[in-house]
Amino acid sequence: MSLLPDLKSPGVMGINSRNGNYIMRYNPRRLFPLVDDKLISKDLAVKNGLPVPELYGVIRMLHDIRKFDQIVEGKEDFVLKPVHGSGGNGIMVIGGRSRDRYRTTSGKIVTRDEMAHHMENTLGGQFSLGGQPDQVLVEYRVKFDPIFDHVSYLGVPDIRIIVFKGVPVMSMIRLPTRSSDGKANLHMGGVGAGIDMRTGITTNAVVGTSPMQEHPDTGSPVVGLKIPHWDVMLEIASRCYEITGLGYLGVDLVLDAALGPLILEMNARPGLNIQIANAAGLLPRLHFLEALELDGMSVPDRIALGKEATNRDPREITRMAVA
């Protein structure tokens, strides 16, 4: 046993544990469509008064592609998304247009034909789980808050919050880099910075699994960053549990310059890299919460509990003991 690194005492959650002890236990299978289908989750959020990027239109079948021009008429910028996509795949962000040509935010020029092909592929199921036929949704492009300009390379930084039975327990901000092709995906080389649940300030950052302090492209520090509207974000995240019923949920938020925090998507199988970004395991916090009766608790109480749960980290406990 001593041959292997000790992941137990920092309380790292592994895939098997996440699947077996959390997803299977707290996320009933029948609720998955609520988050896997972006149209349903958007609708659900709107009905419950939670902020989401405005939906411009849906392309449900090949025939609808001709409606596309009508949908984006008068819109300079917009986003194309597969309804059943995951991990940011198949998303096309258009930042500008000139007649039949569109320009993506990463600077690529896309012709009308190319865009139609992209939509055809999406409808055919290229980006959906298991290759099922899919739909394309066209929505508002987030004008992300300039506060993140110096720590992102193209793309939109997003904030991931893990919510356990309505309690926001861990969070990180994902910053796009040149090597992640403007996608805020850690897996592709994006930066992940852990956020202190109590303060909303980033504490630790990684690229892949290696710790770092500055953004690799811009050189600006990514640790010590204060996330604006932090408490609003925690409230939105907590309420996502109420509208979906999923006990172990990942909520992705973006910060729009004008509209504030918006729900980008929700995830019933949130990844584990958030632990690396925070240099903290999820299990101490989850074990703390599992021992409590959370049902019927109000949103502010849940948020307070999430902040409290942070103190369960072995490192925090040591620090408090020293103090």
Partner: protein, 508 residues
């Protein structure tokens, strides 16, 4: 709660699978190794006698019933015009040949095949204490004298018998012994004498008439073995040497000293034994035995299926094993594969191509297929037509490879024609999606993981013992199921996660 449920279920499955397995392996003797062979002794008893005038004749032959240490594989009789009845009585089995009108030289045969089975203990029931035999004087005094001497020099039945036999076989015998030994010249008579003398000491004893086994014996001897009951078990002595234990080269034909044959209506009757040793596949013997035991298992085994179906099932029963390996590699080690059970399918495909050829061929087709798919991407085909195109191109490539390899005199390519190409196409499609979504590194990692897993599964499936055992003992699938169920409750770290989260590890 769920965990306990799973553990109990797994325990039940293990119990059921293991007990059926043990029953088949132990009781029915189904071998764990396909190539295993058993030494089979075929003994033939040739009964012959002469009848001078035409008339009725009857011959009894005492035949083995439950020979201890051996199991009867089969037996048959050659009766030629005689009516045959096999008589099972308390004193042992008898073959009875009878004919109404016959004359001249008569030959009857009884053939028996046996093989050693140490689990068999078909001895007689516990005997009662014999009465002291009423002998005439001076034999009675000689007997009592001898037994009391021997008793003084021995501690128990075992030592008593050894000491008695030693004295009986003494080349320079004492007076009592030479008196008693006088009428007993053959080994059989000597052994009978020993039984009588043991009875004088009220020790139950019996004679086992044994056939001597050998490589190829035309004229096998029938030797008596002295069996003495010590209150719990029968213990055996060679009456001529006094050696303890049943000699390994003897087959216990019948109990009791009664002659082996009894002929009425003939003269010059004799029985001769010949012995032939042969090796037979243990598998066959076990099946015959199972049938003779009246077990229904052989009828409900895969071995009862038509041969062609059998060969298919030989592969099918291996699939769960492959799946279990995938579970272990994915959930315990953390190897990433393209599709969950793709490696199992590929491993099955390798069986047809051989490993090296298959690996080479597979890699070639996948690389080519990925290239073609990338090219088709430019044509902006819809998903399904694109898949179909890739499939077609894969078929064309396979055809070309087969023809080319045949021209070059390599036959791997030919057997590839049976290769499940749908698997190839799916693999190419999935890998290219991974390639687009997550990048080349992930696609190649997954591709390599799939290949490695497939090779491992192929190697495990190729182990003869594994194949044979899974086929003959398909109840082991229950054990595999149990292992899979338990693996399904494993929520610990995967081996690869130790590397992934290495930065977070606590200092040790």
């Amino acid at each position: 709660m769920n965990r306990r449920h799973t553990v109990i279920l797994a325990a039940i499955l293990v119990l059921a699978g293991t007990s059926l397995f043990l029953y088949k392996a132990r009781t029915l003797g189904l071998p764990l190794d396909a190539a295993q062979e058993t030494e089979v002794w075929t003994m033939e008893a040739h009964v012959s006698f002469h009848r001078d005038s035409v008339g009725a004749a009857k011959a009894h032959l005492r035949i083995p019933e439950n020979p201890f240490g051996y199991r009867i594989a089969n037996e048959n009789f050659v009766s030629r015009g005689y009516g045959l009845t096999v008589d099972e009585r308390a004193s042992g089995r008898q073959a009875l040949w009878a004919v109404r009108k016959v004359a001249g030289e008569q030959s009857l045969y009884y053939r028996l095949s046996v093989y050693a089975d140490p689990t068999r203990t078909g001895s007689l029931p516990k005997p009662t204490f014999p009465k002291v035999p009423e002998l005439e004087e001076p034999y009675y005094s000689a007997m009592m004298d001898l037994t009391s001497h021997v008793r003084e020099q021995s501690a128990d039945i075992l030592t008593f018998t050894s000491a008695l036999l030693r004295r009986l076989n003494d080349p320079t015998p004492e007076e009592n012994v030479s008196l008693l030994r006088d009428g007993a010249r053959t080994p059989m008579q000597r052994t009978k004498l020993a039984v009588t003398l043991l009875a004088g000491a009220r020790i139950p004893a019996e004679i086992v008439q044994c056939v001597q086994l050998g490589e190829d014996r035309r004229m096998a001897e029938v030797l008596p073995i002295l069996a003495v009951h010590n209150g719990n078990d029968w213990i055996y002595f060679d009456p001529q040497t006094g050696e303890l234990g049943f000699p390994p080269n003897l087959f216990p034909w019948v109990w009791g000293s009664k002659p082996l044959i009894d002929v009425t209506g003939g003269r010059g009757d004799m029985v001769e034994f010949s012995v032939v040793r042969s090796l037979q596949p243990t598998m066959e013997i076990a099946q015959e035995r199972a049938a003779s035991l009246g077990s229904k298992i052989p009828e409900f085994s895969l071995l009862a299926l038509p041969l062609r179906t059998q060969s298919v099932y030989g592969v099918i029963v291996m699939i769960p094993l492959g799946a279990l390996l995938v579970v272990l590699l994915r959930n315990f080690i953390g190897i990433r594969t393209v599709g969950t059970f793709m490696p199992v399918l590929i491993a099955i495909a390798f069986r047809e191509t051989q490993l090296l050829g298959g690996l080479l061929f597979f890699t070639l087709i996948i690389v080519a297929g990925l290239g073609i798919r990338a090219y088709l991407e430019h044509l902006r085909l819809l998903l399904v037509p694109r898949l179909a195109s890739v499939l077609t191109v894969v078929v064309i490539l396979m055809t070309l490879v087969s023809i080319a390899s045949h021209r070059m005199g390599v036959d791997t390519g030919l057997s590839v024609a049976l290769f499940p190409m749908v698997i190839l196409t799916m693999m190419i499609e999935r890998m290219s999606v991974t390639w687009e979504e997550l990048g080349a590194k992930d696609a190649i990692t997954e591709g390599m993981g799939t290949m490695m897993t497939a090779v491992l599964i192929y190697l495990v499936m190729g182990v003869d013992v594994v194949r044979h055992v899974m086929f003959v003992f398909p109840e082991l699938l229950l054990l595999i199921l149990a292992a899979t169920l338990l693996a399904g409750r494993y929520t610990g770290f995967r081996l690869t996660e130790y590397r992934r989260f290495k930065a977070m590890a606590a200092d040790q």
